[in-house]
């Protein structure tokens, strides 16, 4: 009869000792919260981004924004003369990766974390940060309930309920006779499930009860089933709460299967990375945005200039602007904190708590416009926009064209 092969007694003991040492190490890292702030090489700030996995297109955009902000901050003298030392960890595109990256950043002794990229990841990793007293600034989490995770959690990405209904209003403004909306959302994604509720509420308020609600999964690529089922009901408006990759694919298949009506998409598709996927079929889709390159404030113009210098004249996407803003917020809060309470030699746990208070207490002139926070960590932003994707004739590139 087959049986499990256990190591001999001595090896087992060695493994037990190793496990105990590892556990002790874990406890030791928790005690790190009572150790001193380490400023070797600069003021440590971390980021947890989706650089690999299906959401990597977002993480890549965000990395550009963080690097630009770091250059800007350090070029202007850093944090009271010390450079801001940014460490980016790849959190992958799932919860486990984000949890591991968040834990690594906490144990490393950073003072605050930007990230994680996805709302789905934030619901898993932010509670870890909350328990360990780590200030978090979410750059792209729009699902309902993120700041409510705890007192150390904030975000610069306005929640879907603020933005998403604007695009439904714009669709009706462009085509007042819309009657039949078909809704698609990814049921295994916190962002998608939160945003579709908001979209469906906005549709109902405008008298546009959906004729069908089609559920997908975040890693789906082939949507023929859902699309043909929806098209049989003759919709004149399609509303998507999907991520960039699956959403781009769905739009392409939707158009190829003959749908010619309006398409409204949510924040998950708020990136130029959709262009290579749906190509010419992206043309005309409507999207509400929290960032506009056309915002004529000094902070935004300076950001655009820096972005274009580093990216060959391209137009900055929202995710890059939001990531830039997140690091800017942390840096400005650190500068204010340093004036009140020198960072060198300060208690790490206390410094993190004080930094969180500084983050929430400030007003910031950012590429997104002027922003502040509620005491719970929710961003207060003044301007939102609705854009229409305008693809160039070859279908190889495009832009988000602001609508009045």
């Amino acid at each position: 009869m087959p049986s499990l092969q256990w190591p001999d007694g001595s090896t087992t003991r060695a493994l037990l000792v190793a496990a105990l040492v590892a556990l002790a190490g874990c406890r030791g890292s928790d005690r790190g919260a009572t150790s001193a702030v380490k400023l070797d090489g600069g003021v440590p700030v971390g980021a947890v981004l989706a650089l690999t996995g299906n959401a990597n297109v977002y993480g890549q955009d965000q990395k550009v924004g963080l690097n630009l902000a770091q250059q800007e901050i350090n070029g202007a003298g850093g944090i009271a003369g010390r450079p801001l030392k940014l460490t980016i960890e790849d959190g992958g595109s799932d919860e486990a990766g984000a949890n591991a990256a968040m834990t690594l950043q906490i144990n490393r002794g950073v003072l605050a974390v930007v990230g994680p990229t996805l709302s789905q990841q934030a619901f898993s990793a932010d509670p870890i940060a909350q328990r360990r007293g780590m200030p978090v600034v979410g750059p792209s989490n729009t699902a309902t309930g993120i700041p409510e995770i705890g007192s150390f959690i904030s975000r610069v990405s306005a929640q879907s309920s603020e933005i998403a209904p604007l695009s439904i209003g714009m669709a009706l403004k462009l085509q007042p006779n819309l009657k039949r909306a078909a809704v698609f959302y990814a049921q295994d994604d916190a962002y998608g499930t939160a945003e579709t509720v908001i979209f469906q509420k906005a549709l109902a308020e405008k008298g546009l009860k959906p004729v069908t609600v089609q559920r997908t999964q975040i890693n789906d690529l082939d949507f023929q089933n859902q699309i043909t089922a929806a098209l049989n009901l003759k919709p004149d408006l399609v509303v998507l709460s999907l991520q960039a990759v699956d959403g781009g694919n769905l739009i392409r298949q939707l158009r190829e299967l003959g749908y010619r009506g309006l398409i409204v998409v949510g924040n998950g598709m708020n990136t130029p990375n959709i262009y290579p996927i749906c190509q010419r079929h992206c043309d005309g889709i409507l999207i509400a945005q929290a960032y506009s390159p056309e915002l004529a404030t000094p902070a935004n113009q300076a950001f655009i200039k820096r972005f274009q210098a580093s990216q060959g004249g391209a137009i900055p996407p929202q995710l890059t602007a939001q990531a830039y803003t997140a690091l800017q917020v942390i840096a400005e809060a650190l500068q204010r904190l340093e004036k009140r309470q020198p960072l060198a030699g300060a208690d790490l746990g206390q410094t993190r708590r004080s930094l969180m208070q500084e983050i929430l207490g400030g007003t910031y002139q950012t590429p997104l416009g002027e922003i502040r926070f509620t005491p719970e960590g929710e961003v207060i932003q003044k301007q939102f926009y609705v854009a229409r994707v305008k693809m160039n004739p070859t279908g190889n590139g495009g832009r988000f064209e602001l609508l009045p």
């Binding site: 690529l221 023929q224 089933n225 781009g248 996927i277």
Partner: protein, 310 residues
């Protein structure tokens, strides 16, 4: 009736992709008795090769940013060349991830892990070189063929009909090769017993490399076709198909070529039968179906029952 026809086409078109993918798995399993987890990465590579050979430019995030062939090739030429490129890569993977362990007669589980590792490395290499962004193959790649076809009231995209036809063609050619050619028979002999085959004068190592080459070619071919159908959604493009194709492989009967195709189509149809509103749960339905089938027939649909002598 129209609706039933639509469901049938939807199911067959998705099933054809699963079947093509699973055929590569099946070939390697039938010879070595292990699952080649790098197959999904080779499939992904096939899609990228096809894109580049069509004259597509590399985006801005990879080390090869901006790189582009001076002139693109016609789609079918690019597809076949991509398949050949993948065949070479697959043979290379055999040499690195499988060969050394096989020669040491290591446990099959070790080969499975090394193939998984090789696949992850390959996917990350793609990301380093090509960047994370998605790519779409040019819309006019199929020449003058219309984008969508109306067949008896059902709407289906032309590329999906092409995928069904290619899947059927590959099944026929592969079966003919395995049953009628000397190479195919030699491969079957190696699959039966590599040592005995060697004693009969068959170069087992060469046959195993040939098996990987054919498997890699099929992966490249299906990667290019699926890339045209759905766009290349990033370096992790093939991973999702891997798990589903694994189920298809088991359902069809481990190592059975027609079984893989039949099971692919059945899983595709099972998914298509899930109503649109509930299609977010189609994987659960497909795998529940798989589970039920295996309870009734553990050796798979067309697999051979293992007879144990006591």
């Amino acid at each position: 009736m129209d609706n039933l026809l639509q469901i049938l086409f939807n199911g067959l078109s998705v099933g054809a992709v699963y079947a093509l993918f699973a055929l590569g798995y099946t070939l390697v399993f039938s010879v070595l008795g292990v699952i080649n987890f790098a197959h999904g990465a080779v499939f992904t590579l096939g899609a990228y090769f096809t894109y580049l050979l069509l004259g597509g430019a590399v985006g801005s995030n990879g080390l090869l940013a901006g790189a582009q062939l001076p002139e693109g090739l016609p789609f079918w030429v690019a597809l076949v060349l991509a398949g050949l490129g993948c065949a070479l890569v697959s043979v290379g993977l055999e040499a690195v991830a499988f060969g050394p362990l096989r020669r040491r007669q290591a446990e099959p589980l070790l080969s499975l892990i090394t193939s998984l590792g090789a696949g992850v490395v390959l996917v990350n290499l793609i990301q380093i070189l090509m960047g994370a962004e998605g790519y779409a193959l040019p819309a006019g790649s199929l020449g003058q063929l219309p984008v969508t076809l109306e067949l008896g009231g059902a709407r289906v995209r032309t590329i999906q009909v092409v995928l069904m036809l290619v899947s059927a063609l590959v099944l026929v050619l592969l079966t003919l090769w395995l049953e009628r050619s000397r190479g195919g028979k030699a491969l079957q002999a190696v699959a039966e017993d590599a040592t005995t085959a060697r004693l009969l004068g068959i170069d087992s190592d060469a046959m195993i490399q040939l098996c990987f080459a054919v498997s890699g070619f099929l992966a490249g071919l299906s990667g290019g076709l699926v890339g045209l159908s759905l766009s290349i959604t990033g370096p992790y493009f093939g991973i999702g198909y891997g798990l589903k194709a694994l189920g298809v492989l088991v359902l069809g009967g481990l190592g059975s070529v027609p079984g893989a195709v039949l099971a692919g189509l059945i899983v595709g149809l099972a998914e298509a039968l899930v109503p649109g509103e509930w299609s977010g749960y189609k994987d659960a339905v497909a795998f529940a179906f798989l589970f039920g089938m295996l309870l009734l027939r553990p050796q798979g649909l067309l697999g051979r029952a293992v007879v144990t002598k006591v």
